[in-house]
Protein backbone atom coordinates (compact mmCIF):
# COMPACT_ATOMS: atom_id res chain seq x y z
CA UNK A 1 0.00 0.00 0.00
CA UNK A 2 1.25 3.47 -0.79
CA UNK A 3 2.22 5.62 2.13
CA UNK A 4 -0.29 8.35 1.38
CA UNK A 5 -3.06 5.77 1.18
CA UNK A 6 -2.08 4.60 4.61
CA UNK A 7 -2.09 8.09 6.02
CA UNK A 8 -5.48 8.78 4.48
CA UNK A 9 -6.92 5.59 5.96
CA UNK A 10 -5.51 6.39 9.38
CA UNK A 11 -6.93 9.89 9.27
CA UNK A 12 -10.26 8.44 8.23
CA UNK A 13 -10.15 6.05 11.17
CA UNK A 14 -9.51 8.84 13.64
CA UNK A 15 -12.24 11.00 12.13
CA UNK A 16 -14.77 8.18 12.27
CA UNK A 17 -13.78 7.55 15.85
CA UNK A 18 -14.12 11.19 16.86
CA UNK A 19 -17.47 11.53 15.08
CA UNK A 20 -18.80 8.42 16.77
CA UNK A 21 -17.67 9.79 20.11
CA UNK A 22 -19.25 13.18 19.45
CA UNK A 23 -22.46 11.45 18.41
CA UNK A 24 -22.57 9.30 21.52
CA UNK A 25 -21.83 12.30 23.71
CA UNK A 26 -24.57 14.38 22.09
CA UNK A 27 -27.16 11.67 21.89
CA UNK A 28 -27.35 11.44 25.66
CA UNK A 29 -26.93 7.66 25.68
CA UNK A 30 -24.11 8.34 28.07
CA UNK A 31 -24.79 11.16 30.57
CA UNK A 32 -23.00 14.24 29.30
CA UNK A 33 -21.46 14.91 32.70
CA UNK A 34 -19.65 11.56 32.46
CA UNK A 35 -18.56 11.75 28.85
CA UNK A 36 -17.97 15.21 27.40
CA UNK A 37 -17.85 15.47 23.64
CA UNK A 38 -14.43 15.76 21.98
CA UNK A 39 -15.27 19.30 20.95
CA UNK A 40 -15.03 20.26 24.62
CA UNK A 41 -11.37 19.30 24.69
CA UNK A 42 -9.80 22.35 23.00
CA UNK A 43 -11.41 24.77 25.43
CA UNK A 44 -10.32 22.68 28.39
CA UNK A 45 -6.84 22.55 26.92
CA UNK A 46 -6.64 26.30 26.64
CA UNK A 47 -7.61 26.83 30.27
CA UNK A 48 -5.18 24.25 31.56
CA UNK A 49 -2.42 25.43 29.25
CA UNK A 50 -2.77 29.06 30.19
CA UNK A 51 -2.58 28.30 33.87
CA UNK A 52 0.59 26.31 33.17
CA UNK A 53 -0.80 23.25 34.87
CA UNK A 54 -0.89 21.23 31.66
CA UNK A 55 2.79 21.71 30.92
CA UNK A 56 3.83 20.98 34.49
CA UNK A 57 1.78 17.81 34.66
CA UNK A 58 2.92 16.54 31.29
CA UNK A 59 6.54 17.12 32.14
CA UNK A 60 6.21 15.46 35.53
CA UNK A 61 4.44 12.38 34.16
CA UNK A 62 6.76 12.16 31.22
CA UNK A 63 9.72 11.95 33.52
CA UNK A 64 8.11 9.20 35.64
CA UNK A 65 7.15 7.41 32.47
CA UNK A 66 10.52 7.57 30.80
CA UNK A 67 12.44 6.47 33.86
CA UNK A 68 9.98 3.68 34.62
CA UNK A 69 9.80 2.54 31.03
CA UNK A 70 13.53 2.37 30.47
CA UNK A 71 14.16 0.62 33.75
CA UNK A 72 11.31 -1.82 33.37
CA UNK A 73 12.18 -2.61 29.78
CA UNK A 74 15.84 -3.09 30.48
CA UNK A 75 15.33 -5.28 33.52
CA UNK A 76 12.45 -7.19 31.98
CA UNK A 77 14.40 -8.06 28.87
CA UNK A 78 17.46 -8.95 30.96
CA UNK A 79 15.67 -11.20 33.42
CA UNK A 80 13.48 -12.78 30.77
CA UNK A 81 16.51 -13.54 28.64
CA UNK A 82 18.46 -14.88 31.59
CA UNK A 83 15.64 -17.18 32.61
CA UNK A 84 15.26 -18.47 29.08
CA UNK A 85 18.99 -19.09 28.77
CA UNK A 86 19.84 -20.89 32.00
CA UNK A 87 17.64 -23.79 32.88
CA UNK A 88 18.88 -23.81 36.46
CA UNK A 89 18.18 -20.18 37.09
CA UNK A 90 14.84 -20.61 35.37
CA UNK A 91 13.84 -23.47 37.63
CA UNK A 92 15.08 -21.58 40.68
CA UNK A 93 13.08 -18.44 39.98
CA UNK A 94 10.04 -19.98 38.28
CA UNK A 95 7.81 -20.16 41.32
CA UNK A 96 9.13 -17.00 42.94
CA UNK A 97 8.19 -15.19 39.75
CA UNK A 98 4.79 -16.85 39.84
CA UNK A 99 4.28 -15.46 43.33
CA UNK A 100 5.38 -11.93 42.50
CA UNK A 101 3.88 -11.63 39.04
CA UNK A 102 0.20 -11.18 39.90
CA UNK A 103 0.75 -8.58 42.63
CA UNK A 104 -1.02 -5.47 41.37
CA UNK A 105 0.53 -2.04 41.29
CA UNK A 106 -1.82 -0.96 44.05
CA UNK A 107 -0.46 -3.58 46.40
CA UNK A 108 3.07 -2.46 45.64
CA UNK A 109 2.29 1.11 46.67
CA UNK A 110 3.14 0.57 50.35
CA UNK A 111 6.51 -0.84 49.36
CA UNK A 112 7.09 1.97 46.93
CA UNK A 113 6.42 4.40 49.77
CA UNK A 114 8.72 2.56 52.13
CA UNK A 115 11.57 2.31 49.67
CA UNK A 116 11.28 5.62 47.88
CA UNK A 117 9.09 7.76 50.10
CA UNK A 118 6.43 9.83 48.46
CA UNK A 119 8.65 10.70 45.56
CA UNK A 120 9.06 10.59 41.84
CA UNK A 121 11.11 7.46 42.35
CA UNK A 122 8.12 5.64 43.76
CA UNK A 123 6.02 6.47 40.71
CA UNK A 124 8.74 5.35 38.35
CA UNK A 125 9.12 2.17 40.36
CA UNK A 126 5.45 1.30 39.96
CA UNK A 127 5.53 2.02 36.25
CA UNK A 128 8.65 -0.04 35.78
CA UNK A 129 6.97 -2.96 37.49
CA UNK A 130 4.19 -3.53 34.96
CA UNK A 131 6.52 -2.79 32.10
CA UNK A 132 8.96 -5.29 33.58
CA UNK A 133 6.54 -8.18 33.52
CA UNK A 134 5.42 -7.68 29.97
CA UNK A 135 8.99 -7.57 28.77
CA UNK A 136 9.97 -10.47 30.95
CA UNK A 137 7.46 -12.81 29.35
CA UNK A 138 7.91 -11.54 25.83
CA UNK A 139 11.70 -11.91 26.02
CA UNK A 140 11.47 -15.29 27.68
CA UNK A 141 9.34 -16.70 24.88
CA UNK A 142 11.33 -14.97 22.16
CA UNK A 143 14.67 -16.26 23.41
CA UNK A 144 13.24 -19.74 23.80
CA UNK A 145 12.07 -19.62 20.22
CA UNK A 146 15.41 -18.72 18.65
CA UNK A 147 16.34 -21.19 15.92
CA UNK A 148 18.60 -23.82 17.48
CA UNK A 149 20.36 -24.27 14.14
CA UNK A 150 21.61 -20.71 14.27
CA UNK A 151 22.95 -21.21 17.77
CA UNK A 152 24.77 -24.26 16.48
CA UNK A 153 26.15 -22.10 13.70
CA UNK A 154 27.51 -19.79 16.37
CA UNK A 155 29.34 -22.63 18.07
CA UNK A 156 30.74 -23.78 14.74
CA UNK A 157 32.28 -20.37 14.11
CA UNK A 158 33.70 -19.64 17.51
CA UNK A 159 30.76 -17.50 18.57
CA UNK A 160 29.55 -20.02 21.14
CA UNK A 161 30.81 -18.11 24.18
CA UNK A 162 28.17 -16.42 26.25
CA UNK A 163 28.77 -12.90 25.05
CA UNK A 164 28.99 -13.49 21.28
CA UNK A 165 26.22 -16.11 21.41
CA UNK A 166 23.99 -13.68 23.25
CA UNK A 167 24.69 -10.61 21.17
CA UNK A 168 25.23 -12.16 17.76
CA UNK A 169 22.65 -14.92 17.71
CA UNK A 170 20.16 -14.95 20.52
CA UNK A 171 19.29 -11.30 20.87
CA UNK A 172 19.08 -10.59 17.12
CA UNK A 173 17.10 -13.78 16.62
CA UNK A 174 14.75 -12.96 19.47
CA UNK A 175 14.51 -9.30 18.49
CA UNK A 176 11.12 -9.40 16.79
CA UNK A 177 9.59 -11.00 19.87
CA UNK A 178 11.45 -8.75 22.27
CA UNK A 179 10.40 -5.64 20.37
CA UNK A 180 6.78 -6.75 20.44
CA UNK A 181 7.11 -6.86 24.22
CA UNK A 182 8.74 -3.45 24.33
CA UNK A 183 5.89 -2.08 22.26
CA UNK A 184 3.24 -3.59 24.52
CA UNK A 185 5.15 -2.13 27.47
CA UNK A 186 5.16 1.31 25.86
CA UNK A 187 1.39 1.44 26.27
CA UNK A 188 1.22 -0.44 29.55
CA UNK A 189 3.53 2.18 31.02
CA UNK A 190 1.06 4.96 30.26
CA UNK A 191 -1.77 2.85 31.61
CA UNK A 192 0.13 2.64 34.86
CA UNK A 193 1.12 6.28 35.07
CA UNK A 194 -2.31 7.07 36.46
CA UNK A 195 -2.20 4.35 39.11
CA UNK A 196 1.33 5.37 40.01
CA UNK A 197 0.31 8.93 40.77
CA UNK A 198 -2.47 8.07 43.17
CA UNK A 199 -0.53 8.80 46.28
CA UNK A 200 0.71 12.30 46.27
CA UNK A 201 3.02 12.40 43.28
CA UNK A 202 2.00 15.11 40.90
CA UNK A 203 1.48 14.48 37.25
CA UNK A 204 -1.23 13.74 34.72
CA UNK A 205 -2.61 10.90 36.79
CA UNK A 206 -3.00 12.98 39.89
CA UNK A 207 -4.59 15.80 37.99
CA UNK A 208 -7.00 13.36 36.39
CA UNK A 209 -7.99 11.86 39.71
CA UNK A 210 -8.48 15.31 41.17
CA UNK A 211 -10.65 16.34 38.25
CA UNK A 212 -12.53 13.11 38.35
CA UNK A 213 -13.18 13.58 42.07
CA UNK A 214 -14.73 16.95 41.32
CA UNK A 215 -16.57 15.56 38.30
CA UNK A 216 -14.69 17.90 35.97
CA UNK A 217 -14.89 15.29 33.24
CA UNK A 218 -13.83 17.61 30.45
CA UNK A 219 -10.48 17.95 32.21
CA UNK A 220 -10.27 14.20 32.63
CA UNK A 221 -10.89 13.76 28.94
CA UNK A 222 -8.35 16.44 28.10
CA UNK A 223 -5.67 14.49 29.91
CA UNK A 224 -6.81 11.22 28.39
CA UNK A 225 -6.38 12.77 24.99
CA UNK A 226 -3.03 14.13 26.06
CA UNK A 227 -1.88 10.68 27.09
CA UNK A 228 -3.28 9.26 23.87
CA UNK A 229 -1.30 11.73 21.82
CA UNK A 230 1.90 11.25 23.78
CA UNK A 231 1.54 7.51 23.44
CA UNK A 232 0.43 7.66 19.84
CA UNK A 233 3.47 9.64 18.80
CA UNK A 234 5.89 7.45 20.71
CA UNK A 235 4.29 4.27 19.36
CA UNK A 236 4.41 5.64 15.85
CA UNK A 237 8.06 6.53 16.18
CA UNK A 238 8.76 3.16 17.71
CA UNK A 239 7.14 1.42 14.77
CA UNK A 240 9.25 3.44 12.37
CA UNK A 241 12.43 2.48 14.16
CA UNK A 242 11.31 -1.12 14.42
CA UNK A 243 10.59 -1.47 10.74
CA UNK A 244 14.14 -0.28 10.03
CA UNK A 245 15.68 -2.55 12.63
CA UNK A 246 13.74 -5.53 11.32
CA UNK A 247 14.12 -4.71 7.64
CA UNK A 248 15.75 -8.10 7.15
CA UNK A 249 12.40 -9.67 7.99
CA UNK A 250 10.76 -9.08 4.60
Amino acid sequence: MKTYNKIALSALGVIVFLLAWEAVARSGVVPARLLPSPSAVPAAFLTEFKSGIWQAMVLASLSHYLVGLSLGTFLGVSFGTAAALWGKWDAFQAWVVRMLRPIPAIAWIPFAIIWFGVSEGAASFLISLTVFWINYYASYAAVRGVDKDLIELGYAFGQGGLIPRLFKIILPGALPGILSGVRAGLGQGWMTVVAAELFGISGLGMRMMEASGLLATHIVVLYMVTIALLYGVSDFLFMQVQSRVLSWQR
Binding site: D149, L150, E152, L153, Y155, A156, F157, G158, Q159, G160, G161, P164, K168, I169, P172, G173, L175, S247, W248, Q249, R250
Partner: protein, 255 residues
Amino acid sequence: MAAVTFPKTSTASVIDLEDVSIGYGRDAPPVLVDVNLSVERGSFVAIVGPSGVGKSTLLRVVAGLHSARGGGVTIHQDQRPGHRPVGLVFQDSRLLPWRRVIRNVEFGLEGLPVSRDERRSRAEAALKLVRLDGYARRWPYELSGGQRQRIGIARAMAVDPDILLMDEPFGALDAITRHNLQDELRRIHQETGKTVLFVTHDLEEAVHLADRIIVLGGTPARVVRDVRNSAGRDGSVFRDQVEQLRSEIADNYSI
Protein backbone atom coordinates in the same frame (compact mmCIF):
# COMPACT_ATOMS: atom_id res chain seq x y z
CA MET B 1 28.99 -28.77 23.01
CA ALA B 2 32.55 -29.47 24.02
CA ALA B 3 33.11 -33.22 24.13
CA VAL B 4 36.01 -32.74 21.75
CA THR B 5 39.56 -32.67 23.10
CA PHE B 6 42.13 -30.31 21.63
CA PRO B 7 45.54 -31.58 22.83
CA LYS B 8 48.49 -29.25 22.43
CA THR B 9 50.82 -31.72 20.71
CA SER B 10 50.78 -31.76 16.95
CA THR B 11 50.89 -35.25 15.43
CA ALA B 12 50.49 -36.63 11.95
CA SER B 13 46.80 -37.34 12.40
CA VAL B 14 44.59 -34.32 12.88
CA ILE B 15 41.29 -36.00 13.65
CA ASP B 16 41.13 -39.16 15.68
CA LEU B 17 37.90 -41.01 16.27
CA GLU B 18 38.13 -44.11 18.41
CA ASP B 19 35.20 -46.49 18.76
CA VAL B 20 32.83 -43.60 18.49
CA SER B 21 29.11 -44.20 18.62
CA ILE B 22 26.63 -41.42 18.02
CA GLY B 23 22.90 -41.05 18.51
CA TYR B 24 20.11 -38.55 18.92
CA GLY B 25 17.94 -38.51 22.02
CA ARG B 26 18.42 -40.63 25.07
CA ASP B 27 16.74 -43.88 24.19
CA ALA B 28 16.74 -43.90 20.40
CA PRO B 29 19.01 -46.47 18.74
CA PRO B 30 22.43 -45.09 17.73
CA VAL B 31 22.92 -43.65 14.26
CA LEU B 32 26.61 -44.49 13.98
CA VAL B 33 28.59 -47.17 15.81
CA ASP B 34 32.19 -48.37 15.98
CA VAL B 35 33.56 -45.45 14.03
CA ASN B 36 37.33 -45.59 13.98
CA LEU B 37 38.83 -42.93 11.83
CA SER B 38 42.09 -41.13 11.86
CA VAL B 39 42.60 -38.36 9.38
CA GLU B 40 46.12 -37.35 8.44
CA ARG B 41 47.15 -33.76 8.40
CA GLY B 42 46.74 -32.26 4.97
CA SER B 43 44.66 -35.06 3.55
CA PHE B 44 41.47 -34.65 1.57
CA VAL B 45 38.90 -37.15 2.74
CA ALA B 46 35.53 -37.63 1.10
CA ILE B 47 32.64 -39.21 2.98
CA VAL B 48 29.95 -40.91 0.96
CA GLY B 49 26.94 -43.00 1.83
CA PRO B 50 23.21 -43.16 1.38
CA SER B 51 20.87 -40.41 2.47
CA GLY B 52 20.23 -40.48 6.19
CA VAL B 53 23.18 -42.72 6.96
CA GLY B 54 24.82 -40.26 9.33
CA LYS B 55 27.28 -38.21 7.30
CA SER B 56 26.14 -34.85 8.60
CA THR B 57 25.97 -36.27 12.08
CA LEU B 58 29.55 -37.44 11.88
CA LEU B 59 30.68 -34.02 10.69
CA ARG B 60 28.83 -32.34 13.52
CA VAL B 61 30.59 -34.54 16.03
CA VAL B 62 33.98 -33.74 14.54
CA ALA B 63 33.09 -30.06 14.66
CA GLY B 64 32.22 -30.42 18.34
CA LEU B 65 28.59 -29.52 17.83
CA HIS B 66 27.20 -32.83 19.00
CA SER B 67 28.68 -35.09 21.65
CA ALA B 68 29.33 -38.69 20.85
CA ARG B 69 27.55 -41.27 22.97
CA GLY B 70 30.73 -43.23 23.48
CA GLY B 71 34.33 -43.42 22.35
CA GLY B 72 36.93 -40.72 21.97
CA VAL B 73 37.01 -37.75 19.63
CA THR B 74 40.32 -35.91 19.47
CA ILE B 75 41.27 -32.96 17.29
CA HIS B 76 45.00 -32.26 17.14
CA GLN B 77 45.05 -28.71 16.03
CA ASP B 78 46.64 -25.61 17.50
CA GLN B 79 44.90 -22.31 17.34
CA ARG B 80 46.72 -19.96 14.99
CA PRO B 81 45.95 -16.29 15.65
CA GLY B 82 43.58 -14.87 13.08
CA HIS B 83 42.34 -18.29 12.04
CA ARG B 84 39.81 -20.75 13.35
CA PRO B 85 41.03 -24.31 13.72
CA VAL B 86 37.86 -25.64 12.11
CA GLY B 87 35.60 -24.22 9.40
CA LEU B 88 32.27 -25.83 8.66
CA VAL B 89 30.03 -25.61 5.60
CA PHE B 90 26.54 -26.71 6.56
CA GLN B 91 24.34 -28.83 4.34
CA ASP B 92 21.61 -26.20 4.60
CA SER B 93 23.27 -22.88 3.97
CA ARG B 94 22.32 -21.54 7.40
CA LEU B 95 22.86 -17.83 6.94
CA LEU B 96 21.92 -15.34 9.64
CA PRO B 97 18.84 -13.66 8.20
CA TRP B 98 19.54 -10.38 9.99
CA ARG B 99 22.97 -9.91 8.45
CA ARG B 100 23.68 -8.80 4.96
CA VAL B 101 25.78 -11.15 2.84
CA ILE B 102 29.11 -9.52 3.62
CA ARG B 103 28.42 -9.53 7.33
CA ASN B 104 27.47 -13.18 7.14
CA VAL B 105 30.81 -13.93 5.58
CA GLU B 106 32.55 -11.90 8.27
CA PHE B 107 30.74 -13.79 11.01
CA GLY B 108 33.47 -16.32 11.81
CA LEU B 109 36.17 -13.64 11.78
CA GLU B 110 34.61 -11.68 14.60
CA GLY B 111 36.29 -12.27 17.89
CA LEU B 112 39.56 -13.14 16.19
CA PRO B 113 42.48 -10.73 16.60
CA VAL B 114 41.90 -9.31 13.15
CA SER B 115 41.45 -5.66 12.37
CA ARG B 116 38.18 -4.40 11.01
CA ASP B 117 39.75 -3.66 7.64
CA GLU B 118 41.40 -7.03 7.36
CA ARG B 119 38.14 -8.69 8.28
CA ARG B 120 36.34 -6.86 5.54
CA SER B 121 39.02 -7.58 2.96
CA ARG B 122 39.19 -11.26 3.84
CA ALA B 123 35.41 -11.49 3.58
CA GLU B 124 35.51 -9.75 0.23
CA ALA B 125 38.17 -12.12 -1.00
CA ALA B 126 36.07 -15.09 0.09
CA LEU B 127 33.05 -13.62 -1.70
CA LYS B 128 35.13 -13.21 -4.83
CA LEU B 129 36.25 -16.81 -4.53
CA VAL B 130 32.63 -17.99 -4.77
CA ARG B 131 31.97 -15.41 -7.50
CA LEU B 132 29.46 -13.37 -5.54
CA ASP B 133 31.40 -10.16 -5.05
CA GLY B 134 28.47 -8.15 -6.40
CA TYR B 135 26.11 -9.46 -3.75
CA ALA B 136 27.76 -8.13 -0.60
CA ARG B 137 24.93 -5.79 0.38
CA ARG B 138 22.04 -8.19 -0.21
CA TRP B 139 19.90 -9.78 2.48
CA PRO B 140 20.02 -13.58 2.52
CA TYR B 141 16.40 -13.82 1.41
CA GLU B 142 17.31 -12.05 -1.81
CA LEU B 143 19.56 -14.88 -2.94
CA SER B 144 18.96 -17.99 -5.01
CA GLY B 145 19.53 -21.42 -3.47
CA GLY B 146 22.93 -21.87 -5.05
CA GLN B 147 24.00 -18.36 -4.10
CA ARG B 148 23.07 -19.01 -0.49
CA GLN B 149 25.12 -22.17 -0.49
CA ARG B 150 28.10 -20.32 -1.88
CA ILE B 151 27.85 -17.71 0.87
CA GLY B 152 28.10 -20.61 3.31
CA ILE B 153 31.28 -21.73 1.58
CA ALA B 154 32.68 -18.20 1.62
CA ARG B 155 31.99 -17.92 5.34
CA ALA B 156 33.99 -21.06 6.05
CA MET B 157 36.81 -19.99 3.71
CA ALA B 158 37.06 -16.54 5.27
CA VAL B 159 38.25 -17.91 8.62
CA ASP B 160 41.05 -19.72 6.75
CA PRO B 161 40.72 -22.85 8.88
CA ASP B 162 43.23 -25.65 9.13
CA ILE B 163 40.47 -28.21 9.05
CA LEU B 164 37.68 -27.69 6.57
CA LEU B 165 34.51 -29.65 7.14
CA MET B 166 32.17 -29.46 4.15
CA ASP B 167 28.72 -31.01 4.05
CA GLU B 168 27.71 -31.28 0.40
CA PRO B 169 28.97 -27.79 -0.33
CA PHE B 170 28.39 -27.92 -4.08
CA GLY B 171 25.09 -29.77 -4.04
CA ALA B 172 23.00 -26.88 -5.29
CA LEU B 173 25.41 -25.63 -7.95
CA ASP B 174 25.34 -25.96 -11.68
CA ALA B 175 28.03 -27.92 -13.42
CA ILE B 176 30.22 -24.96 -14.34
CA THR B 177 30.10 -23.12 -11.05
CA ARG B 178 30.69 -26.44 -9.39
CA HIS B 179 33.76 -27.19 -11.47
CA ASN B 180 35.16 -23.77 -10.82
CA LEU B 181 34.74 -24.17 -7.11
CA GLN B 182 36.08 -27.71 -7.15
CA ASP B 183 39.20 -26.39 -8.81
CA GLU B 184 39.48 -23.57 -6.31
CA LEU B 185 39.09 -25.99 -3.47
CA ARG B 186 41.72 -28.30 -4.87
CA ARG B 187 44.09 -25.41 -5.39
CA ILE B 188 43.57 -24.13 -1.86
CA HIS B 189 44.02 -27.60 -0.46
CA GLN B 190 47.27 -28.09 -2.30
CA GLU B 191 48.65 -24.64 -1.60
CA THR B 192 47.79 -24.40 2.08
CA GLY B 193 47.82 -28.02 3.16
CA LYS B 194 44.44 -27.76 4.83
CA THR B 195 42.83 -30.95 5.99
CA VAL B 196 39.48 -31.37 4.25
CA LEU B 197 36.58 -33.59 5.25
CA PHE B 198 34.09 -33.48 2.48
CA VAL B 199 30.62 -35.05 2.36
CA THR B 200 29.28 -35.58 -1.12
CA HIS B 201 26.72 -37.59 -3.03
CA ASP B 202 28.56 -37.18 -6.25
CA LEU B 203 30.94 -40.11 -6.59
CA GLU B 204 32.72 -38.50 -9.52
CA GLU B 205 33.33 -35.51 -7.32
CA ALA B 206 34.65 -37.71 -4.54
CA VAL B 207 37.01 -39.61 -6.81
CA HIS B 208 38.04 -36.46 -8.56
CA LEU B 209 38.93 -34.50 -5.43
CA ALA B 210 39.75 -36.78 -2.55
CA ASP B 211 42.80 -38.83 -1.80
CA ARG B 212 40.81 -41.01 0.54
CA ILE B 213 37.17 -42.02 0.44
CA ILE B 214 35.18 -43.26 3.40
CA VAL B 215 31.99 -45.15 2.69
CA LEU B 216 29.37 -45.26 5.44
CA GLY B 217 26.59 -47.85 5.35
CA GLY B 218 24.31 -50.16 7.28
CA THR B 219 21.92 -49.62 10.17
CA PRO B 220 23.32 -48.59 12.54
CA ALA B 221 25.90 -47.17 10.19
CA ARG B 222 29.59 -47.90 10.36
CA VAL B 223 32.57 -47.36 8.07
CA VAL B 224 32.12 -50.06 5.47
CA ARG B 225 34.97 -49.08 3.22
CA ASP B 226 38.00 -46.85 3.47
CA VAL B 227 39.82 -46.48 0.13
CA ARG B 228 42.98 -44.64 -0.81
CA ASN B 229 42.24 -42.94 -4.08
CA SER B 230 44.65 -41.67 -6.65
CA ALA B 231 42.53 -41.91 -9.77
CA GLY B 232 42.99 -38.84 -11.90
CA ARG B 233 40.33 -36.63 -13.24
CA ASP B 234 39.36 -38.84 -16.14
CA GLY B 235 40.24 -42.06 -17.81
CA SER B 236 39.53 -45.64 -17.02
CA VAL B 237 41.08 -45.68 -13.54
CA PHE B 238 38.70 -42.92 -12.59
CA ARG B 239 35.70 -44.74 -14.06
CA ASP B 240 36.64 -47.96 -12.35
CA GLN B 241 37.03 -46.28 -9.05
CA VAL B 242 33.63 -44.60 -9.33
CA GLU B 243 31.98 -47.83 -10.39
CA GLN B 244 33.56 -49.76 -7.59
CA LEU B 245 32.35 -47.21 -5.06
CA ARG B 246 28.91 -47.30 -6.54
CA SER B 247 28.64 -51.04 -6.07
CA GLU B 248 30.18 -50.74 -2.62
CA ILE B 249 27.47 -48.34 -1.58
CA ALA B 250 24.76 -50.43 -3.23
CA ASP B 251 25.89 -53.50 -1.28
CA ASN B 252 25.59 -51.65 1.99
CA TYR B 253 22.52 -49.67 1.05
CA SER B 254 19.94 -50.12 3.71
CA ILE B 255 18.39 -46.80 4.67
